[in-house]
């Protein structure tokens, strides 16, 4: 048995349960919880059982209506009992059968009578005082008691299986979410490593040209470097000291030809420290590039520069 998690909600159900007053969904919920094993509830139930016993002790006073007749009743029953004892079968202890009744009080139609309660089956062989014919009454009752026990056990099992299925579902949802996160990270790492590999290949290329870009306007303290791999017609761009932009803005890198005509080389964001890196992987007309510049543009970039210049060189 796996123990289930105790919740303060059960503390509120236990007094009514000990009294036999719990019913409906609350009874099923608590019964399933107890069946799964909860040391907190078990020890609380013991205390509550003692409380209900106290109530029984208080109630165990003869009502006045019976006070006069009591000695006669008590004497008569004692005589009948002592005459009956030799004929009574002694029941060997049945392994934990009573627990079933304790753990799973029957549903609302037959609420738990007491805690701890003896099994309802015990009624089977008791002979009523008044009428021998009434023995016949016990047979359907005993059968009903067996059915109630079976039904109660079924309920407990169902509740336990239901809880287990729910737990496994939750676990599988968590695992799926975790797998998704890991996949995303793996994809990011792969992209990052590809970018690094390309950066290295550009920087390590023979005849790489370096162009420095200086901060302009509000990006006064910023600096940038473009490394152009002339042979493979690609470049990598680094910047530092650039101020962070609002969510609707982005930085855009341009190269300019002999006629100062700008062409976009991509957009980029800066990190928290104002640094940025961009691999320019479009084939560059390296012979014609005269200058590099960075402007601030609306999010997504523009075909032609529209915003203020942040770096130029």
């Amino acid at each position: 048995m796996t123990s289930s998690t105790h919740s303060p909600r059960f503390d509120e159900l236990l007094p009514a349960y000990a009294l036999g007053a719990l019913d409906g969904d609350e009874l099923r919920e608590l019964a399933a919880h107890l069946a799964a094993g909860c040391p907190v509830c078990e020890s609380e139930l013991r205390r509550l059982a003692a409380e209900v016993e106290d109530l029984a002790a208080a109630a165990a006073e003869l009502p006045e209506s019976l006070a006069a007749a009591a000695p006669e009743i008590l004497g008569g029953v004692k005589r009948r009992l002592l005459a009956e004892l030799p004929r009574q079968p002694r029941q060997p202890r049945q392994q934990r059968q009573p627990q079933l009744a304790e753990l799973a009080p029957a549903p609302a139609a037959a609420p738990p009578a007491a805690y701890p309660s003896p099994p309802a089956l015990a009624a089977r062989s008791v002979r009523p005082v008044r009428s021998v014919r009434s023995i016949g009454r016990w047979v359907p009752l005993a059968a009903a008691a067996v059915l109630a026990l079976v039904a109660a056990w079924g309920l407990v099992r169902q509740a336990r299986l239901g809880a287990e299925i729910e737990r496994l579902r939750g676990e599988s949802r968590q695992l799926a979410a975790r797998a998704e996160v890991l996949e995303r990270r793996a994809a990011q790492a792969q992209a990052e490593s590809l970018r690094l590999a390309r950066t290295i290949s550009i920087l390590a290329a023979p005849g790489v040209q370096s162009v420095s870009l200086a901060g302009m306007g509000t990006s006064h303290g910023a600096a940038g470097h473009t490394y152009v791999d002339v042979a493979d017609r690609q470049a990598v761009f680094y910047a530092s000291g650039l101020p962070a932009l609002g969510p609707d803005k982005t930085y855009q890198l341009w190269y300019l030809d002999e006629q100062d005509h700008p062409t976009s080389a991509g957009v980029f964001e800066v990190d928290a420290r104002g640094k940025a890196a961009l691999v320019v992987d479009q084939p560059l007309p390296v012979e014609r590039i005269q200058a590099w510049a960075v402007t601030v543009e609306p999010r997504g970039g523009r075909p032609q520069p529209t915003g203020p210049m942040a770096l130029a060189g």
Binding site: A21, L66, I73, A113, P118, A120
Partner: protein
């Protein structure tokens, strides 16, 4: 002076004797059974009579309960309750079974619920044992701390075996109100009884 000592010592010796008797009954000792009956039958009769009201049925249940003791005394678990507590819970359980069967047959007796309440005061009659009288007095005064509504809800659950929903129907009260009356009532009893002498 002698009585003061008897209060606590008497309780312990009573429990000791009861435990011994239960062991003997398990071994088939009829004399032990007769002694156990003499000690506790009046309490069992009082309890089942309060649940059932009708004298005839109370008598039958009294017999059923003690037959069950004879056959199943080995099911008594010493760590869980005193022998007398176990016996009384057995008695309540059997009396409620009988009550439900009677309700199922649609037979209602006039006197059925006449005494289905906890006694307001401990009667000096019939309480031969001082320690028992003291215990009941303590519980009765704890019960007196409850509001009449809390007390009524607990009585309906205890004496008639009614559930939350059935009590709400009987009293024409909202279910949530009944639930909180029982919870608060039981907690109040717990507090009062936890300061045991």
């Amino acid at each position: 002076m002698q009585d003061e000592g008897h209060g606590t010592l008497g309780m312990q010796s009573q429990e000791l004797e009861d435990s011994f008797l239960i062991g003997q009954i398990s071994a088939g000792d009829q004399e032990a059974f007769a002694r156990f009956y003499d000690l506790h039958a009046a309490a069992v009769l009082g309890l089942v009579a309060r649940v059932l009201g009708a004298r005839g049925e109370a008598e039958e249940v009294l017999q059923e309960v003690f037959l069950q003791v004879w056959r199943q005394s080995d099911r008594y678990e010493a760590g869980r309750s005193t022998p007398r507590g176990w016996l009384l819970m057995l008695a309540r359980s059997r009396a409620l079974d009988r009550l439900r069967r009677r309700d199922a047959r649609g037979r209602h007796e006039q006197e059925a619920v006449a005494d289905a309440t906890f006694p307001r005061l401990v009667s000096p009659l019939g309480t031969r044992r001082l320690e028992e009288a003291q215990r009941r007095e303590r519980i009765c005064s704890a019960l007196n701390l409850l509001s009449p509504e809390q007390r009524r809800c607990i009585e309906l659950a205890f004496f008639e075996g009614l559930t939350h929903t059935q009590i709400a129907e009987r009293l024409a009260a909202p279910l949530g109100t009944v639930k909180s009356r029982i919870l608060l009532g039981m907690n109040k009893l717990r507090q009062a009884l936890s300061t045991r002498p």
